[in-house]
């Protein structure tokens, strides 16, 4: 048994945690952070380091457009002159998450005409991953792109495993899409697992809390009968119910949220759930993938394309097309719908290694910063749909930080036990 101030503080917290319902009531009325629990008081109660979330800790605000394609990612093939083009674009908010499974399909189609070398257009996460998968299959690969990965839209994502985030609209995607999505998702999941524990933590899991002042219910997407129009009539989705929600297909491998008892909830809210979230650390993951590409003899050519016909001028006669949102203009694919999203980045806080979501604002601690997303107003999947304004708005992030502030407010003086 330790003595001194530390031991006393532990004891006080232990008594608070053991207080159970009393502790809950106190927390419900006063937004007091309760983030560090007494070591050994309860095995189930995590010791969390509070995040520093004041606006002065912001080091970046980034905005990007997700390429939502109504029918889901385009994986079709077509001939442009004498060149076989294998499309691999339009992954919505799921490019990172589906990158390996999608590459497997695209590279498989490329391989089916027996090339020895191929080109990849685009060096976002989808293009780069396809390039590496093609190399692993023995092909010589040249990437043609405007920019390397760190300057693509992929690096302006939030970087969590979210394989069905605005990835398709259910009806336009058709009855075969869910199975295809599941195939891509499962292969990606298994491949990401091969990066767990690698130096620099390119891929890692962390605990992710959802906390609330109201009971937390599983989100559902009922169709609003008052909205009679849809993508079919307007060319844009008009309600969340139109989107493909497929995550229940992978419940067997992806950790699900479990409700926490008041004793288990490290936050000063009456309700909480916890799950484990896989995320990607852009810097180390991107570096690893680029390094593999070059180590395998990959070539990178910086160039832009303006028409599909230009693709046929490449010396490679099999081309994987992964230009992402840019395909809307390059390939005149008007079924790509812009979905705006933005992230704020707080200074990295590796000691606070968790994520938390409260009132539609989320924080997730990653190696290159704590990513902040303010998904308000609460429009579900409709947030940002049709919005191609790609400049960040810092005020929205600061407003999100303000919403989160009560979770980390200093503890009031502890009452005597």
């Amino acid at each position: 048994m330790r003595n001194g101030p530390l031991a006393r503080r532990d004891m006080l917290k232990g008594s608070l945690a053991a207080g159970g319902l009393l502790g809950l009531q106190a927390c419900a009325s006063a937004p007091a952070a309760r983030l560090a629990s007494a070591a050994g008081s309860r095995l189930s109660k995590p010791r969390l380091v509070p995040m520093r979330i004041t606006p002065d800790q912001l080091i970046d605000v980034k905005c990007c457009i997700r390429p939502l394609r109504a029918a889901g990612p385009n994986l079709a093939t077509e001939m442009v002159g004498d060149t076989l083009v294998v499309h691999n674009y339009g992954h919505g908010g799921s490019g990172w998450s589906l990158s390996w499974g999608s590459a497997e399909i695209a590279v498989g189609k490329a391989l089916s005409v027996l090339p020895s070398e191929i080109a990849v257009i685009g060096c976002g996460i989808v293009g780069l991953t396809a390039a590496v998968v093609a190399q692993r299959a023995g092909l010589k690969v040249t990437i043609y792109a405007r920019d390397m990965l760190p300057r693509t839209r992929s690096f302006r994502a939030s970087g969590s495993f979210t394989p069905d985030a605005r990835v398709a609209l259910l009806e336009p995607a058709g009855p075969n899409f869910p199975a295809l999505w599941e195939q891509m998702t499962r292969l990606s999941w298994k491949t990401f697992r091969t990066y767990l524990g690698v130096t620099g933590n390119p891929v890692e899991f962390s605990d992710s809390y959802q906390v609330s002042d109201k009971p937390i219910e599983r989100r559902t997407y009922p169709r609003d009968p008052a909205i009679t129009d849809s993508y079919a009539t307007k060319g844009l989705p008009l309600q969340s119910a139109e989107f493909a929600h497929l995550s229940s297909r992978i419940r067997d491998i992806v950790p699900q949220a479990v409700p926490l008892s008041p004793e288990e909830n490290p936050f000063p809210t009456p309700y909480a759930t916890r799950t484990s979230q896989m995320h990607f650390n852009f810097a180390s993951y991107g570096h690893l993938l680029m390094s593999e590409f070059f180590e395998r003899g990959g070539a990178f050519v910086m160039r832009d394309f303006h028409t599909p016909a230009e693709v046929a001028t490449l010396k490679e006669k099999v081309v994987i097309h992964s230009s992402g949102y840019a395909a809307r203009d390059l390939w005149k694919d008007r079924t790509i719908i812009p979905v705006r999203g933005q992230t704020g980045w707080l200074v990295p806080q590796p000691e606070a290694n968790y994520g938390v979501r409260y009132n539609n604002v989320s924080l997730l601690s990653k190696s290159d910063g704590v990513v902040v997303m303010n998904n308000n107003p609460d429009l579900g999947d409709m947030l940002g749909v049709g919005n191609s304004m790609e400049l960040p708005v810092r005020a929205d992030i600061e407003a999100g930080l303000q919403i989160m502030a009560p979770l980390f407010a200093p503890q009031p003086p502890a009452r005597p036990a």
Binding site: T77, L84, V86, G108, K109, A110, L180, V318
Partner: protein, 155 residues
């Protein structure tokens, strides 16, 4: 670039909606002829009914590992795309031999030669190679005269 020009030509025709395989005139495989590129799996070397029978067999003997859509998994090879690259340019007899001796993995060699020929026919169909009038033989002497070559890009 090692893509056979004919292959890309066919791919172009497929993309344009032309009749697949029209550029190939498939001579009947002669039992004694060595493997040549003139008889390939793109020339209509199996029958539609045989592939249908193969589809039925695949569903009960193969799909539990390779997937209903032949998609494979992280651990089990897909039977599209890369599969074509793996078997291309060699006699289709090699594939038939492998399927006959190694598959299904839980009971290798348990299918009859006719069943294995039907499964190979199904795999050819699923990889875009057209059906012909006669079923694929299970005679090794015939199978070694047919070169496994794709008929265009995978769907």
């Amino acid at each position: 670039m090692r893509i056979a020009r004919a292959t890309l030509g066919v791919a172009a025709m497929l993309a344009c909606g032309a009749i697949a395989g029209a550029v190939f005139s498939a001579p009947a495989p002669a039992a004694s002829a060595p493997a040549t590129r003139s008889v390939t799996t793109a020339s209509g070397v199996y029958s539609a009914a045989q592939a249908e029978e193969g589809s039925r067999l695949y569903a009960v003997r193969c799909a539990m590992c390779h997937g209903q859509m032949l998609e494979g998994t992280m651990e089990t090879p897909a039977l599209r795309g890369k599969f074509v690259a793996n078997w291309a340019r060699s006699p289709v007899g090699h594939l038939f031999d492998y399927v006959s001796k190694a598959m299904p993995q839980f009971a290798p060699g348990s299918l009859s030669p006719a069943e294995n020929a039907a499964i190979v026919a199904f795999l050819l169909r699923e990889n875009g190679m057209r059906a012909g009038n006669s079923p694929l033989s299970s005679d090794p002497e015939v199978l070694k005269t047919i070169t496994f070559m794709p008929d265009g890009p995978a769907r």
